[in-house]
């Protein structure tokens, strides 16, 4: 408890030192959730945890509070379309649900599903949850009560990321070990729409144009689709030699895109992906674990350099300041609509 308190204090201090303004006037519509490892890369399971890893929430972009249990592997947080207080979590222990913003939890999956990495709920069929697993894709049709494996057609079914086309129920794209797969029948059948040589780590649908999809991969660079993910083309100017972790749209500006990766640093595009600018300067290293764009604060970026504080930029990456934590690896930075 001592540790946690001091961490929180330190986070607040950092936030204050960073001097980025609280969102006072226009109260943000989203909470920021950070899924972080705070105890260093040497942390092993079963070991004593010197710091409380897991999910943190910031409601004011200044302070963070620890949410729920303190695991060193939490991969993704998403909101619950059925309840503003609901959260779904992809964690090492499985898909986990909280109905009370993280006070209590229930693991939804069983022994046969480990380490879900990607999680998505179909906005057109909100009982349907898709989880990307190291050995396939699991689908629940009943909000997580029961699960079925549905990755027929996928060779090498390691699945890192799941994105659901918001325009059509049951139309889902999955980033897997050897490419991007598409289903149009709720995961009953899948087809390869874009092969890759290694894992696709992120896959996003544009908030501005639902036909546009954006993906980043391990060794195939970044990919772009303008036909709802049916065909893809490499994004020029994005190097292939580094593992890319995140590729995200700016919800406030259709031209703006961000991506990051290991040794790739942080790149932004302000012209819809045609050209890319390196905005790593100001960050302590080029091993950028994850990035996020604030939906409530135009131009505000978050980046998690490996084992460093989570940084914030108010100017889309031109200038950076440490915001949260001392040494963190953020598996995921995500915004969930506030209740």
């Amino acid at each position: 408890m001592q540790t946690l308190k001091s961490k929180l204090f330190f986070a607040a201090l950092l936030a204050a030192l960073g001097g980025h303004a609280p969102i006072g006037a226009a109260a943000p519509k989203h909470d920021l959730y950070l899924s972080v490892l705070l105890s260093g890369p040497g942390q092993i399971m079963g070991g004593r945890t010197p710091a409380l890893s897991g999910v943190y929430r910031s409601t004011d972009r200044l302070k963070v509070e620890h949410v729920g249990f303190g695991h060193i592997r939490m991969f993704q947080v998403i909101g619950d379309p059925h309840s503003a207080d609901g959260l779904y979590l992809a964690a090492l222990n499985g898909v986990v649900h909280s109905k009370d913003r993280g006070k209590t939890w229930r693991i939804l999956t069983g022994w046969d599903m480990t380490e879900p990495k990607g999680l998505a709920i179909d906005p057109n069929a909100t009982d349907h949850i898709y989880a990307g697993l190291p050995d396939g894709i699991a689908v629940s049709r009943d909000r997580g009560a029961t699960w079925a494996r549905m990755n027929g057609g996928i060779r090498r079914s390691y699945t890192q990321t799941i994105t659901i086309d918001r325009t059509q129920a049951g139309r889902v794209l999955a980033g897997t070990e050897l490419g991007i797969y598409l289903t149009e029948d709720g995961a009953r059948t899948w087809r390869l729409v874009q092969p890759t040589t290694e894992t696709t780590y992120d896959l996003r649908q544009s908030p501005h144009d639902p036909k546009i999809f954006f993906a980043v991969t391990t060794s195939s660079g970044a990919l772009w689709s303008e036909d709802r993910g049916l065909t893809w083309k490499p994004i020029a100017g994005v190097p292939k030699k580094h593992t890319l972790h995140n590729g995200v749209f700016d919800p406030s500006d259709a031209r703006r895109l961000v991506l990051c990766g290991w040794d790739a640093g942080l790149l932004v595009s302000e012209d819809g992906g045609r050209t890319w600018l390196d905005r790593t300067a100001g960050l302590p290293n080029r091993q950028i674990w994850s990035v996020a764009v604030d939906p409530d604060q135009p131009g505000r970026l978050y980046a998690s350099p490996f084992q460093q504080p989570v940084y914030v930029s108010e100017d889309f990456g031109l200038n950076w300041k440490p915001a949260f934590f001392e040494k963190a690896t953020a598996f995921n930075l995500t915004f969930v609509p506030r209740p």
């Binding site: 890369p41 040497g42 222990n93 209590t104 022994w111 190291p134 050995d135 593992t243 290991w262």
Partner: protein, 615 residues
């Protein structure tokens, strides 16, 4: 990427060795095979008591830090100091940590203490299982611990709703999920082999949960399965031991045990069950959690005999599987083909080479018997030092790039070192017949590292580099001839002995062992080796044609199946176990354990144990 071997060591070393620990510090145990079941049992029980007494005494009055879960478990097993244990337990339950490594000690404490602990202490434990969400982990040993513990606690607290459990699932849901996992794992293991096979350390992580199931599961079928799995694990261990030392290829070992073969948790089991070696320091740390319930297990005599009878030479074959491969493989669990040749003087063991496990694999060696194994590096082997994100991605779901470096801070410090001696390589292919091993390496240019390392122990009694190209050595009563296939240099090792560094990607090693008693003299041995027909070729890819000391004509070519006496070797018929002692068909779920007239059949399909004495 969470590996836990060092956790145990950390625990071990954090325990001050304030008290004499007879078996660790004492003389070597008398290795006489005890035929009398009552004496064997009595010796076993006294070893249990020794460990419990020792650990219980670690708790110092007024020093709460010395009074941990291990001390509580020891005291409760001895039925002493229940009040103090209860009080301390309440404190400890306020800040649980350790995940599945917390779960099973607490499970043991609860069951051992169910008629000793105060209601308040029990309530504290109960509350911890609501408030504290342990990590389930990502390896089979984690899951064995996690689900066995959860199974037993759900059994203990039945009919409770999800709100009463850390994971939000009801007692029934937890019970069923745990049961299903355990059954699944047992089936996998008994049909296509164990994933974390023959681990010098993780054997405890399986044995402890299985013992708990065998002891505390109320479902007789689960109890029976637990008992059967214990037999399974220990039979698998006993057959590949030399005076308690786990020999041959391991899915996972560590830098220490790799060289000081005795120094693994497995030796604790050798001490406890076979009585033929000393336990490692502090009874292997985790050992205490086995002894806490060990009185409820009786090692079947047939396994004891296998573990202690080294009267005859034998070859044991077994099939295992790799850890789950998430990426970079078309199969989730590729087969591992193991060969182990054991004499009373030495053992030679190997797998087929390749990347079978991440980080901690050990593919082959010769281990020789020593009068007292403590501090002795009684082994010789070579390896192709390899590391890659590719390897780690195969077995872990993490993002790749940070992993190689991270691993080195997770208890595997040598992972990325050129001088490493631990770990498998995708560029090594191994073939063993009897006590001959041929290891061929073909490292592509640019890979980490284009070389072969050979380990030459400080404890070799003889060492001669022969003009013939052979390096002749003697360890204990074993003569070992080592033939590097490419030029090499010597590098000192911090731990003593030296490393043969052969900086060539096309490379390999031939090792031929023999007993000292087989030859009139050292010179005779050397002459015999020199006389063996041998052709070596390294281009375009390594190839060796060698007639072994046992008269077998082996032709091994990198990338091709070995040829034995003119016949191409076929792995497809490799059984789950075959040899004089253990036999099982792939897919059968049935292991037949044999020694002399004794036979025990463990049939997981019918949940049946059959003990037979053959006429």
């Amino acid at each position: 990427m969470k590996t836990l071997s060092c956790l145990a060591l950390a625990v071990v070393f954090s325990v001050p060795l304030a008290r004499a620990q007879p078996s660790f510090k004492g003389p070597m145990p008398d290795a006489t095979v005890i035929v009398d079941a009552s004496l064997r049992r009595a010796a076993y029980l006294s070893r249990i008591d020794e460990a419990l007494v020792w650990r219980a005494a670690m708790a110092k009055p007024g020093e709460p830090k010395t009074f941990g879960l291990g001390e509580i478990v020891s005291k409760l097993a001895r039925r002493e100091d229940a009040a103090a244990c209860s009080e301390r337990l309440i404190e400890l339950m306020k800040a649980p940590t350790g995940d599945m490594f917390w779960m099973f000690p607490v499970t043991a404490i609860y069951y051992l203490g169910r008629d000793q602990l105060t209601p308040e202490a029990k309530a504290a434990v109960r509350e911890a299982w609501r408030a504290y969400m342990p990590l389930r982990g990502d390896t089979e040993n984690h899951w064995a611990m996690y689900y066995s513990s959860l199974y037993l606690m759900a059994q203990q607290w039945p009919d409770e709703p999800g709100e009463r459990w850390f994971n939000g699932k009801s007692s029934r849901e937890n019970f069923e999920e745990s049961r299903d996992y355990l059954l699944h794992w047992m089936e996998l293991t008994t049909t296509i082999g164990q994933g974390e096979y023959d681990c010098t350390h993780y054997i405890g992580e399986y044995a402890i949960p299985m013992l708990y199931l065998a002891t505390w599961a109320r479902d007789p079928a689960m109890r029976q399965r637990g008992r059967m799995m214990l037999d399974y694990i220990f039979a698998d261990y006993a057959v590949e031991t030399l005076n308690g030392m786990y020999v041959g290829a391991h899915a996972r070992t560590d830098d220490t045990t790799l060289l000081e073969k005795w120094n693994g948790l497995s030796s604790f089991f050798g001490w406890l069950l076979l009585g033929n070696c000393p336990p490692t320091v502090a009874y292997g740390g985790w050992g205490i959690y086995f002894v806490a319930a060990a009185k409820n297990y009786e090692l079947p005599e047939v396994i004891y005999r296998i573990g202690t009878d080294r009267a005859g030479t034998y070859t044991h074959y077994e099939r295992k599987r790799t850890r789950h491969r998430w990426r970079n493989s078309d199969v989730r669990n590729a087969p591992v083909y193991k060969t182990t040749y054991i004499t009373k003087d030495y053992a030679v063991g190997s797998d087929q080479g390749g990347l079978l496990q991440p980080i901690q694999q050990h593919s082959w060696d010769v281990t020789w018997a020593v009068p007292d194994p403590r501090g002795v590096h009684n082994t010789i082997f070579s390896n192709q030092p390899h590391f890659s994100a590719h390897e780690l991605m195969m077995y872990f779901t993490e993002k790749p790039d940070f992993m190689p470096a991270a691993v080195t801070s997770q208890g595997k410090p040598t992972y990325i070192a050129e001088s490493k001696l631990l770990g498998g390589s995708p560029y090594e292919q191994i073939f063993q017949r009897d006590d001959t091993v041929i290891s061929l390496c073909h490292v592509p240019a640019g890979a980490n590292f284009e070389q072969v390392n050979g380990f030459f122990s400080k404890d070799l009694a003889r060492f001669e580099e022969d003009a013939s190209g052979w390096i002749f050595t003697q360890g204990g009563n074993a003569y070992i001839a080592y033939r590097p296939l490419a030029p090499y240099e010597w590098k000192p090792l911090e731990v003593g002995g030296k490393r043969l560094r052969s900086p060539h990607g096309k490379n390999g090693t031939i090792v031929q062992a023999a007993s000292v008693a087989e030859f009139k003299s050292w010179d005779d041995f050397k002459a015999a080796i020199r006389a063996l027909p041998l052709e070596i070729r390294l281009e375009p890819t390594p190839r060796v044609a060698f007639t072994t000391l046992r008269g077998k004509k082996l032709v091994c070519t990198y990338g091709a199946a070995p040829v034995v006496d003119g016949t191409t070797f076929d792995y497809s018929g490799w059984k789950l176990f075959s040899g004089p002692y253990l036999n099982a068909e792939v897919g059968s779920g049935k292991l037949t354990i044999t020694h002399g007239a004794l036979e025990r059949v463990l049939d997981f399909k019918t949940i049946t144990i059959t003990d037979r004495v053959k006429p």
